[in-house]
């Protein structure tokens, strides 16, 4: 029999993907009893199917507050990875040597330069360094770039991490910090009474005065039960993985990177297909063809796996951090780029979720921005 105390916490996070678990990890510094409830393998789980970039360039065109938030996280990532490694022994394979976005024509190159220049202008005093490289300069970094590549943008901020090792490290860290993790605990209903949230699962009811819904694509239905409207559209992305080959890609690009183990991961498809995680041979062959255009030496390298996963996207593509007015103590969050933002989620949200003021950095990332008045 479980003790009643096993069912109570100071705060419960619903959703054990990278967003929920990074938040829960950070919360252990602010509350003694943090509980994390997760559904399981049948759920849609973006964290298990993503690309693993810790990416800055191109984030937040026209929304400098999002670029800043992204850079806050990117700047914290190196320490975050070191902390996880020291605490758990798990290496997240974080790299921060910069990243490239390849341009296949002069027009793309000029558009890209204009975007980089807007980022520089919006960054103000913080500065935003970038370089536009034409093919010969690009080849000094990656000699294997193909003849059809016109050039690339480079920023030193970009990098990558292994999303699965990151998830594992965050979970182990959470456990070591005294967090309580309950897998196979899908929350089916949330009730708010006398200042306490009661979360119903098939293993019984869990209680806390505070709750954070971070259930990825399943967030809206749960958030509604605590008075929050979270607009969201899943977006499918497909990823291909090649066999392991000796290292040649020194830097990740927006849609290709080489893992520490040697596999090339590629893909950046954006498909509006609802809740469907099937793969599509047409999309797969486009991804492969584009990879071969970028790096012709990949021509005869076999692809050994392919999969699809659903991005968790708000209508403007930016994260949503929401606090309920009708049910005080309830929060909900969704975001694309949960890998990139993991270090910010682990470090900057805990105080707010336990009752302090909302961090200025996310002031413009509430759901109010979608309300038409």
């Amino acid at each position: 029999m479980t003790d009643i105390r096993d069912r109570q916490a100071d705060i419960i996070v619903v959703g054990g993907g990278l967003v929920g678990s990074a938040i829960a990890y950070g919360l252990t510094r602010h509350a003694p009893r943090v509980m994390l409830l997760d559904e399981g393998d049948r759920a849609f789980r973006a964290t298990r199917g993503n690309f693993g970039l810790v990416w800055v360039q191109s984030k937040g065109d026209g929304a400098p507050h999002y670029t800043h938030w992204t850079r806050n996280s990117q700047e914290r990532w190196t320490d975050f990875a070191a902390e996880l490694k020291a605490r758990t022994g798990v290496d997240t394979h974080h790299e921060n040597d910069g990243g490239l976005t390849l341009c296949l024509s002069e027009a793309e190159f000029l558009d890209r330069r204009a975007l980089m220049e807007r980022h520089r202008r919006d960054a103000g005093n913080r500065g935003f360094e970038y370089k536009m490289l034409r093919l010969p300069e690009l080849r000094e970094l990656v000699p294997e770039a193909g003849d059809s590549v016109y050039g690339a943008s480079f920023t030193p901020y970009d990098g990558c991490a292994n999303p699965l090792f990151t998830l594992r490290a965050v979970h182990e860290g959470f456990d070591q910090l005294g967090g309580i993790y309950r897998p196979d605990h899908a929350v089916v209903a949330i009730e708010h009474k006398d200042g306490i949230f009661r979360l119903e699962t098939r293993h019984g009811t869990y209680e806390a005065p505070r709750v954070v819904i971070a259930a990825g694509n399943m967030t809206p239905g749960l958030a509604r039960q605590v008075g929050l409207e979270i607009p969201l559209n899943p977006q499918r992305g497909e990823i291909l993985v090649t066999e392991r080959i000796a290292p040649f890609m020194r830097l990740p690009t927006q849609n290709m990177r080489q893992t520490v183990e040697g596999s090339i991961i590629m893909g950046d498809s954006k498909e509006d297909v609802g809740f469907d995680t099937a793969t599509d041979t047409g999309v797969i062959s486009d991804i492969a063809a584009r990879a071969v255009t970028a790096f012709p030496i990949l021509r005869d390298v076999p692809v050994v796996r392919a999969w699809a996963a659903l991005r968790v996207l708000s209508p403007d593509g930016l994260p949503i951090y929401a606090e309920s007015q009708t049910c005080p103590g309830a929060f909900a969050t969704i975001c694309h780029s949960g890998v990139t933002l993991a270090a910010a989620h682990a470090n900057e949200l805990g105080g707010w979720l336990m009752g302090a003021d909302r961090p200025e950095a996310i002031a413009k990332l509430g759901p109010e921005r979608f309300h038409v008045s």
Binding site: E144, R244, I245, P247, F248, G262, V301
Partner: protein, 99 residues
Amino acid sequence: MFRRLETAGRVETVTVSVGGKPVTLPRGETAAAALVAAGEAVGRTTPVTGAPRGPYCMMGVCFDCLVMIDGAPNRQACMIEIREGMRIDRQDGARRLGG
């Protein structure tokens, strides 16, 4: 270590080379079978740690049987039928591109 089950009647055979050594087997067998018939437990070393690996599942799922076949790297030996004159060689570490 491995012993072949007897089959009835005459079988047609094929000769391949395993690390330069000729090995004769019944037609229809796989490159992985040729490897074990030649007494080679190890067909490759892994790209990450250099650990030795050899055919294991014999049904295309574990990828431990990767070898060089006729000079091409990362071939799944258990899924490839032998041909007369096929060259099967050990593969050390990760495949190098353009080399």
